[in-house]
């Protein structure tokens, strides 16, 4: 039997309870990150199948594109890649010498040497997230030993870090998101700063830089590794403009990220030895060699 009117007080009461519940959940999620497991489970068991389905057409297009490429195109690409590989090998030769020299010099100074990082290739899924946030979704998740706070790089530089984790997928906050900041160092002068996102994928902002800081347009900025979240010495950006307004305490410094934040399709997940233990979900990942490229 369908009643003509809904029971008034019960709906109002329920609404009030749910509003309170929303606020509690928001505070718990935003302040203490208590609900990451809840979010992860919803992501894995309800949302991921949907995302997978949505991603299928673009996967299919990619597959047909690959299957229907002509032999000549493949050969051309092969030659191009071989040439690239050769160039990379040449610069690597120099690099390995430099690396050894660096290690020797560091030993002489009895400073600690840098330990190499593990990387894993991941792909960005063609799924739209909130257009007002600089986020992307990767096809690797907890199953692949990804952890929250893990750094993401592409072939050119630092892209961002993992903020949410599902079993087979993870959400990455890009360095250009307004809520993101990364500790950086200027390569030329060694000046330390923090690069904040601006919401524009072509722009980062270096804040709290005094007017007389040794900084020039074109300077390259690298991750400094301070804070322990990002591995040190990966390129982050290039200074594009420095404005020193009189009467202001700090200069306005804008940088352009070197990673192709809105164009890359393949990215790398980096494992390094983070000093901050509490961001680690598991200890050093136990992955077989063929997982890495």
């Amino acid at each position: 039997m369908q009643s003509l009117f809904l029971q008034g007080p019960s709906v109002t009461l329920r609404t009030i309870l749910l509003v309170v519940a929303s606020i509690v959940v928001m505070v718990a999620d935003h302040r203490w990150q208590h609900l990451e497991t809840v979010r992860g489970n919803i992501e894995t068991y309800i949302i991921y199948p949907l995302r997978y389905t949505i991603n299928l057409p673009s996967e299919f297009i990619g597959w047909t594109d690959e299957s229907l490429t002509s032999r000549q195109d493949l050969l051309d690409e092969k030659h191009k890649l071989e040439e690239q590989q050769l160039r990379a090998q040449v610069s690597l030769q120099k690099l390995s010498v430099l690396e050894k020299e660096n290690a020797r010099l560091r030993k002489m100074l009895s400073a600690q040497t840098k330990i190499g990082e593990l990387v894993l290739v991941a792909e960005i899924l063609s799924i739209d997230l909130d257009p007002y946030k600089q986020q992307v979704l990767l096809n690797k998740g907890r199953k692949h030993e990804v952890y929250i706070g893990q750094s993401i790089i592409d072939a050119r530089g630092v892209m961002g870090q993992v903020i949410h984790l599902g079993e087979y997928s993870s959400t990455v906050l890009l360095v250009s998101d307004p809520s993101h900041a990364i500790p950086v160092q200027v390569n030329r002068s060694g000046l330390r700063s923090t690069a904040f996102g601006t919401g524009n994928s072509q722009q980062l902002e270096l804040r709290y830089i005094p007017h007389n800081a040794d900084l020039e347009v074109g300077d390259e900025i690298y991750s400094s590794g301070l804070g322990g979240r990002f591995p040190p010495n990966y390129p982050v950006g290039r200074i594009v403009s420095i404005d020193r307004p009189t009467g202001e305490a700090f200069a306005t410094v804008l940088a352009e990220p070197v990673a192709h934040l809105d164009r890359s399709r393949e990215v790398l997940l980096v494992w390094h030895n983070p000093p901050v233990k509490d961001v680690l979900i598991s200890e050093q990942p136990q992955l077989s060699d063929e997982d890495f490229e």
Partner: protein, 164 residues
């Protein structure tokens, strides 16, 4: 408030489909105008059968929306609950409106939801650029008549509920 068996087979698929439309990859210039399909669908079902689809279901759907959007958990849920509550209070009046009048009401409701979401953005300190922010509400109101007719046809086809 539990969904009866016969309504599960229509309500759940439409909500899931709306969620998928929310995640569907669009070119960047279109992504800013993407209407809130999920809110429209939940609104329709509340309007059509308020005794079955109400604030509790709206809250759960809102949480799913939060996860799909990478938002703070509860951000969209709060907006959906408030909007559903208003529809539940006024459903008898909204039902007798013409489609154009309904679209106006829907526009106001979508605006309320977006303002609530914006308010949470502001509270956590990262208010987005407002120049195109309310465009999804406008587009949502414009497509409301089609959403309404489509869902009504679906509901009648599966004869989920009497009346309306």
């Amino acid at each position: 408030m539990m969904l009866a068996k016969d309504s599960i087979k229509v309500v759940v698929p439409t909500v899931i489909f709306a969620l998928m439309l929310h995640m569907w990859p669009l070119p960047e210039w279109m992504a800013y105008g993407r209407p809130e399909f999920v809110t429209l669908v939940v609104m329709y079902w509340t309007l059509a059968m308020p005794e079955r689809v109400g604030v509790t279901i709206a809250w759960c759907v809102g949480l799913l929306l939060d996860v799909t959007q990478g938002a703070i958990l509860g951000q969209h849920a709060l907006g959906l609950v408030i909007v559903t509550f208003i529809v539940q209070l006024e459903y008898q009046r909204i039902r007798v409106f013409s489609l154009v009048q309904q679209a106006l009401v829907v526009f106001v409701l979508l605006l309320i939801k977006q303002v609530l979401v914006l308010w949470v953005y502001g509270l956590v300190g990262h208010a987005p650029d407002l120049s195109l922010y309310f465009l999804p509400s406008l587009i949502g109101a414009i497509i409301w008549p089609w959403v309404f007719l489509l869902l009504r046809n679906l509901r009648r086809k599966f004869s989920v509920s009497r009346g309306f």
